[in-house]
Symmetry: C2
Subunit: 156 residues, 2 copies
DNA sequence: TATTGTTATACTCTATAACTATA
DNA sequence: TATAGTTATAGAGTATAACAATA
């Protein structure tokens, strides 16, 4: 009745899930959802991003993104400004409040996550970092392959 | 306006997100959601699990779990059987159809995910596996700490 | 004609709290 | 009294398709 499958992948799934759940538990305390927090930290490193780019970075599709951004707008954390170069486009930015939240909570969030590494040796951290970076690149490259297969949405 | 933060953690967040989105794209083709698929693969390695245990493994809270399981039941993939030892408890199992789906799609899913590792050397895989396992354990152990802080629900 | 973003729809997940029934 | 699971509620994300305005 049982089958044995590669443990790497099982591990990958479970680790991701457990980690996400752990990260979410902190974000919830900020009265934000994971997608909302994702937008905050994505914007936190820029001076505003076009709606479209924001969707691409956060992997949130446009129909969904409208709602998520509106909720953040309602909370006073982000604002929409019309693009000066393209009448269809909007620039999404953190408000002052939003930026303050980012400045305060992102390091906090990192600290929270950092507790995971309390028992890590410096070497362990280096290994993990390298492994993650490699994996990230693999995911990104495969994902773009997939997308090319599905749409020709990609304008170089 | 910008701040520099540890890249490890940023990497961790982004990698997880990208990976999840990648994995989800495959699962959707099976007409399942991620939580539903998670239940299928969790049950796939057992001969049925008590409702409660299933919730603990998948990190789905009981109220939510009822709905997820019901949807899987509607699809004919799982069934609920009364426990013989505890009148309150239910055992959730894959039906034959469910098991067939598991047998067919899990390896497929793994293959799909395995494509991530096409450019990995055997050594890379070993490193990633070790790094993930370590991380997983760290998450689990921290998560249970958190839970103890919040409730005393844990009966040893 | 193609693209940006919004709106509408329908469904799933989510936490939480109140509830039933067994222990 | 405590535990297992269901039900009810309200909110948020999700994909998808139809739509408006602009390019």
């Amino acid at each position: 009745m049982k089958s044995t499958f590669p443990t790497v992948l099982r591990e990958l799934l479970r680790t991701h899930q457990a980690f996400l759940s752990y990260a979410a538990s902190h974000v919830q305390k900020l009265d934000l959802t994971l997608p909302q927090f994702d937008i905050i930290i994505t914007l936190g490193n820029t001076d505003g991003l076009p709606y479209k780019i924001l969707g691409e970075k956060t992997l949130i599709t446009k129909g969904t993104l409208t709602g998520v951004i509106s909720r953040l707008e309602d909370k006073g954390l982000v604002q929409r400004d019309a693009s000066k170069t393209d009448g269809r486009s909007q620039i999404i930015r953190l408000t002052e409040t939003g930026y303050a939240l980012f400045e305060r909570t992102f390091p906090e969030h990192l600290l929270f996550i950092n507790r995971l590494f309390d028992n890590y040796s410096p070497e362990d951290v280096i290994n993990l970092e390298a492994a993650l970076k490699q994996l990230h690149e693999a995911v990104i490259s495969l994902r773009s392959e997939e997308q090319e297969k599905i749409v020709d949405d990609t304008e170089a």
